[in-house]
Point group: C2
């Protein structure tokens, strides 16, 4: 199978950028991979590992690329795109891997290059690790890749979208097209609010450390341990997610708080039936998720560590 | 090493009861194990597996036991203890494995048998599985067992407490003495509230299913999947925990809600620094938990599945 793209540029060589580079070369989805990272040490390390060719500048990295992947935290995409947009060739694809799509699409469009194809994307994959050494080629295997193209694009735009979808399919992903706003709401429910709550739970526990004289850490049972694992994710990435998906996050958070108030009331009133019904319903939706193939009943925290080389 | 107890009774042959029975026989901590369960099928199955001798009645089960372990949901302990207390021999130990200790201690004392030793206990161990087949002998290896004896007991009582501690040490646990009220507050932070929040998050997501036309389940990313796993635990057990640890649960929940309000405000006001600081602090406390040996950096959801036969 011929490479989908002759050359791609990866801006940001962390877990996701590094994994795209490795997967693209290993699976033959790109002929050549050019790398850039604002962190000189990370860029140097990426070159040593050998999953692409480090460029001297961000402009050099994108100059001959058929597709440019901005793999930096959502809050930094605007800056990296701005710094490189002028050097992109006409007809190239401008894309990303951020967890928020509405804002990214707006920022890309605001750059005013009507001759490049803006196609934001989001691979639903990752681990809590970061840096160039964290990447691996099978990270996207059998994972969703959500693509949020503009509605009603030109024939050339539709063709570019199909090529990007083909690229991600070669990387192992299941590709799904979605409206950017819909994406941001769905992800607020399935990922953003769960992370916010995990972070919050850990903060509350930290406050209780003084009250309990260190016993929270000592006796951290299964429930709390699992929260700290979620909350071990990159602070910069998550700050940017909440700042950039404010509307959907606040909507889902409002619903979460309403539901929690109802549970609190049930506890205060010793309403065992309400508690039992809510807990039973939770089990049912978990079963649906297992049936939908998004998880197994095996306890692995959903991280696919078995795949990691 | 001689058995700590000549004979023990296990009331309730689920995950914990079954594991105590297996571990006690395998590690020689008890000479004989007599079993009872209100569910005749479970009791029969336990007899077939062969980790103890099924008794014809709950009274028969406890009659000659040196220690009686009530291994049923916290809300059912009062009934099983009441049904069997009259048949217990003088000087025997009355204990349990529930996640709440204050209420259990009060219920045990209210039975009025001053000649048996009331020593509530809580092994911090478990999986999301239940039933007689779920138990295994290594479940308690290197796990905390918290014992909450009364303050200022007789010499005979202190001796009984030491024997129960010795029993759990032989089962592989690290034994810690604690005040019952302190136990209930620490566990509210580390286990009860995390479970409540996980259940609540799944309930909120379920409400959003209609809004997102099934896409919550389809695209459940890592964060949400982990919550559904926590929320897959036994509804009866957790209903009883919240009904029996109301005071501590409401206190910690109040603090959680205050902290969440502060994060919501930071998102609304686009206060990136507050978000970044909170998320960074969460990472630090996770590091403390790993250093305290309560978890590893390996993603296994803290379930010790590797140990399971």
């Amino acid at each position: 199978m011929a490479p989908v793209f002759k050359q791609i540029a990866i801006i940001g060589v962390g877990l996701i950028g590094g994994s795209i580079a490795r997967a693209a070369l290993e699976k033959g989805a790109a002929g050549e991979v050019v790398l850039f990272d604002g962190n000189a040490d990370a860029l140097k390390r990426a070159g040593e590992i050998g999953f692409g060719k480090p460029a001297a500048s961000i402009e050099d990295a994108v100059r001959d690329a058929d597709a440019v992947f901005h793999c930096v935290p959502v809050g930094a995409i605007s800056a990296t795109a701005k710094a490189s947009i002028g050097a992109m060739k006409a007809g190239a694809i401008l894309t990303d891997v951020g967890s928020v799509k509405g804002n990214v699409a707006r920022e890309f469009k605001a750059l005013g290059r009507d001759d490049v194809h803006v196609i934001p994307g989001h691979p639903i994959a990752g681990t809590e690790k970061s840096g160039p050494d964290a990447g691996f080629a099978s990270l996207f295997d059998n994972r969703w890749f959500i693509i949020t193209p503009e509605a009603g694009g030109s024939a050339e735009y539709v063709e570019a979208t199909d090529k990007l979808a083909e690229f991600w399919t070669m990387l192992g992903s299941k590709v799904e097209r979605m409206d950017a706003q819909r994406h941001d709401l769905v992800l607020a429910v399935t990922s953003h609010i769960p992370h916010l709550i995990a972070y919050n739970m850990v903060a509350t526990a930290y406050d209780m450390e003084a009250v309990t004289e260190g016993e929270v850490v000592k006796f951290s049972a299964a429930g709390f341990r699992d929260f700290t694992r979620i909350a071990a994710s990159d602070p910069t990435m998550w700050r940017d997610v909440f700042l950039n998906n404010k509307e959907a996050v606040l909507e889902v958070l409002g619903r979460f708080e309403e539901d929690l108030t109802a549970l609190r009331k049930a506890i205060r009133n010793a309403d065992g039936q309400k508690l039992f019904d809510t807990f039973t319903e939770s089990r049912r939706i978990r079963r649906e998720i297992i049936d939908a193939g998004q998880d197994t009943s095996v306890a692995n925290f959903g991280r696919d560590t078995s795949k990691k080389p």
